[in-house]
């Protein structure tokens, strides 16, 4: 099918985009089209106006300053995957990128689009949560920052208010002996994960000093495995009881059933993937130590 008719706007400044978003009736922001265009084409949804952010130069770019990597919202997944700044400053973001769709999709899809869409099976929201990223949104009354842990509220629901546009994501750079890993199970290469894990660890003096673990595909939003993180911190590396840590990570989870996998499968395999991801991340951190 083809989308229902819509008016198309392509502003060139953020101010203009915010103004349009708040003045037009039934408008939706287009941030690449990875998800929105199929939704429109399948007529799962329809909007009178699409506001394309793709021509706004101030929303594109990746910079590192003062221990933070800032990725502007309209940076494409392909840009992120090819960025040396991301590869060295936010390795988990770089490692997660090849799991998103296929390269043709990554040429169109953007970081901001993926986060604002908030699909619970998507990779980038879980990266943002695992790394304690901060999301910056702009609205008619200015901009504000929202921690990733507060941003994702439920499936396709975020803390960004009506009329606000996600403009940038600030990732803290984890310095020192760090390691990161992505694990996911998908039916086919490039499909949304049935269940997946983002993990990062930082070692100090041979012990885990900091850990970030987030599961995706297990509920309405990325699940931060705080109990598993707490159990990890202080453990000597390599950590011997990663299987138990994996169980802790899924302890309070009750993932949904769908046509591709049962909730019981997601839960059990989530624990396995946490174990594997942490094993890889800790090995990497040891080799960097």
């Amino acid at each position: 099918m083809k989308p229902a008719p819509f008016e198309y706007d392509a502003p060139t400044t953020l101010a203009e985009a915010v103004e349009l978003t708040n003045s037009l009736e039934d408008a939706k922001v287009l941030a690449g089209g990875q998800s929105l265009l199929p939704i429109l084409a399948l007529r799962l949804s329809r909007f009178d106006h699409l506001i394309d952010l793709g021509r706004i130069g101030e929303l594109i770019g990746i910079e590192r300053a003062n221990g933070t990597v800032t990725v502007r919202a309209m940076s494409t997944q392909a840009d992120i995957g090819a960025s040396a700044v991301v590869a060295t400053g936010v390795p988990l973001l770089a490692k997660a990128t090849p799991f998103i769709g296929h390269f043709q999709i990554r040429n169109r899809g953007t970081l901001g689009g993926s986060l604002a869409h908030a699909d619970p099976s998507a990779e980038y929201p879980a990266v943002a949560v695992a790394l304690d990223a901060t999301l910056e949104v702009a609205g008619p009354s200015g901009s504000r920052r929202i921690p990733a842990s507060d941003f994702f509220e439920a499936t396709f629901m975020t803390a960004a208010a009506e009329g606000e546009i996600l403009t940038a994501v600030h990732f803290p750079v984890w310095a020192g002996a760090t390691g990161f890993a992505v694990e996911e199970v998908a039916r086919r290469h490039g499909d949304f994960a049935l269940v997946g894990v983002m993990a990062g660890v930082r070692l100090e003096a041979g012990k885990v000093a900091h850990a970030g673990v987030a599961l995706f595909g297990v509920g309405g939003r990325p699940h931060r495995a705080t109990a598993a993180e707490a159990a990890l911190v202080g453990s000597a590396a390599p950590v011997s009881d990663l299987a138990e840590i994996g169980q802790l990570a899924v302890g309070d989870l009750d993932p949904p059933d769908d046509i591709h996998a049962s909730g019981a499968y997601r839960r059990q395999i989530g624990a396995v993937l946490v174990e594997r991801a942490l094993h890889t991340a800790i090995q990497e951190a040891i080799s960097h130590g």
């Binding site: 199929p38 199970v185 039916r187 490039g190 046509i259 049962s262």
Partner: protein
């Protein structure tokens, strides 16, 4: 040859060998294309494709985002062997072809999955056999 991850239950086809005899081949590339298409139907039918209906009988796999077909990344390199025994019933020595790939592949792939799980006491009686289906079969065999 199918390998199954013993913890995530993801099946992976490591090797697929198929041989056929269609008499004299007019164009070997067309023959191999037919075989590949048939084999891929079997791979998809066993590992991915599934018509799902809800409790009221409504189909829920109505798009190719839900009804999973194998793509290039799900298909191993196919090793194709040609046996050429020319037919005597026609002047060219030709035989029919095109179904050889499809007829064998469903059973071959399903049996390979069944064999990979046999040591766990699993009996495979249905398809599709995605990771969650295999997980359920293993759980049922264990309990």
């Amino acid at each position: 040859v199918v390998e199954i991850d013993g913890r995530t239950w993801e099946p992976r086809v490591l090797r697929y060998i198929v041989s056929e005899d269609c008499g004299r081949m007019i164009n070997p590339r067309v023959v191999e294309g037919q075989i590949a298409g048939g084999v891929v139907q079997g791979l998809g039918g066993v590992l991915l494709e599934n018509f799902v209906y809800d409790g009221d009988g409504n189909p829920v796999t109505t798009t190719f985002m839900d009804y999973l077909l194998p793509t290039a990344t799900e298909v191993p390199d196919l090793e194709i062997g040609h046996i050429v025994t020319e037919a005597t019933s026609n002047p060219g020595g030709f035989k029919g072809m095109g179904e050889g790939g499809a007829i064998g592949s469903h059973a071959a792939v399903a049996n390979a999955v069944a064999d990979a799980l046999a040591h766990l006491g699993v009996t495979v009686t249905t398809t599709p056999l995605g990771p969650s289906h295999i997980f359920e079969l293993v759980e049922a065999a264990r309990s």
